[in-house]
């Protein structure tokens, strides 16, 4: 696996907000038109910069939700109640607004068709965003590596890209497993509760199959899942992680 070719300086560029898509009550996708976008790889992220009238600025990183083949850039953002940037992006931003960003950033948490598989994707909450880009790239690049997505969500209403994932599952393209941790419908026939080693053993391939694994989600989730896979005998060198948020300590 080669490192990414390092392009020149990552310059700030202004994108136009083409459309905002409601994904869940707390999550929106921002469809951007970027005249100077040089392309990206599935799994990469961008830095977004907001500037107030008095010059005050705030920056945050967001995963790219679109595949390289989709053209343009889609960001999917979850509103964090105590956040500074995400409430603006989810509640204030309108179609026609400009949004400043630079990228693509990150060359490790990416998947290209040439990496092969089997491809094991494990998401907690909005950690599904870069994994969705990977699934879209897999489909667009007509990769036939087996792929599984294990997606942990609080409730069914919190599931992002629900229709798209249902279609992928219905077409037998991807083995999609949902687990709901907080509340589930009466007739729910998916998994219930947090991802534990028993569920990992059921969903992850055998360590002998050497799945290439991508885990993205809150820190506690990623720690538990990555530790679980290593305990089950999976090679740590085949596990790539992206964590967000704190350990909760202090």
């Amino acid at each position: 696996m080669a490192g990414t070719a390092v392009r020149g300086r990552l310059i700030w560029q202004l994108g136009s907000v083409v459309e905002l898509v409601d994904e869940t009550p707390r999550v929106k996708s921002i469809v951007l038109e970027l005249p100077d976008w040089a392309g990206h790889r599935a799994g990469q992220h961008v830095d977004v910069r907001l500037i107030a009238e008095d010059g005050y600025q705030a920056q945050r990183s967001y995963s790219i939700a679109s595949a390289p083949e989709d053209g343009g850039v889609v960001l999917t953002v979850e509103r964090l109640e105590d956040g500074e940037v995400s409430p603006y992006l989810v509640d204030e931003l309108r179609a026609g607004d400009k949004l400043e960003l630079r990228g693509p950033i990150g060359g490790f948490f990416v998947w290209d068709r040439s990496f092969g598989g089997p491809l094991l994707l494990i998401a907690g909450g909005s950690g599904v965003v870069p994994l969705r880009a990977i699934l879209r790239h897999r489909a667009a690049a007509r990769s036939d590596v087996p792929a599984r997505l294990l997606y942990s969500s609080r409730t069914l209403e919190d599931v992002i890209y629900g229709d798209e994932l249902n279609r992928l599952a219905a077409d037998d393209e991807v083995d999609v497993r949902l687990t709901l941790t907080r509340r589930w419908p009466k007739d729910w026939n998916g998994h219930r509760g947090r991802v534990d080693n028993a569920l990992l053993e059921e969903v992850a391939w055998s360590p002998d199959d050497k799945p290439l694994t991508y885990i993205c989600g809150p820190t506690g989730f990623v720690e538990a899942v990555a530790n679980g896979l290593v305990q089950l005998g999976h090679d740590p060198a085949r596990i790539r992680t992206e964590r967000f948020g704190a350990t909760g300590a202090g």
């Binding site: 490192g3 910069r49 107030a52 720690e223 596990i239 948020g245």
Partner: protein
Amino acid sequence: MSFVSRGFRGRRRDDADPARIPPGQYVTGDFPVLAAGPTPHTPLEEWTFTMRGAVDEPVTWTWDELQALPSETVTRDIHCVTKWSKLDTDWTGVSVDTLLDGVETSAEYVLAFSDGGYTTNLPLEDVTGGKAWIAYGYDGEPLDPEHGGPARLLVPHLYFWKSAKWVRGLELREDDKPGFWENYGYHNYGDPWREQRYAGD
């Protein structure tokens, strides 16, 4: 800057001195975690720290030997390239100066190496002169594995990816060899005050 984000006011913090916050950073009271793979769990009885490379003989310390060296407790601000800064963090560990004491080297760079295969490169002068530690304590407690325990490199004046978690040694080098993130487009030096996040910044 002429561009203004329509409707953005921001939520400034008034409890942090702006002079302590590098450009593009925000202050958090949490301690976020960033790592490219699973957290390694090396038993302390198997743990060693090695100074190798451009030295006459590699020097290795066991966990107990490292603990027996004079330690320092320092309070520093730390700055992660993912935008968070955390002020007044307390660390306990051994100064890299102590580990290099008596080591003759022609090296100008170091490559820190860690369990799990992580590496990061720094000029030697950025880990000497009281600027870097092998830290095994945080806030008076043993350093948690998620935050790099049992021991991590602490180089608080650079972005925090330079403070390699799960560090197992320093390779002294005459040439500068880019480490893990440096190979993936992150800045080779990483000064937060010059906002050196990515290559070319």
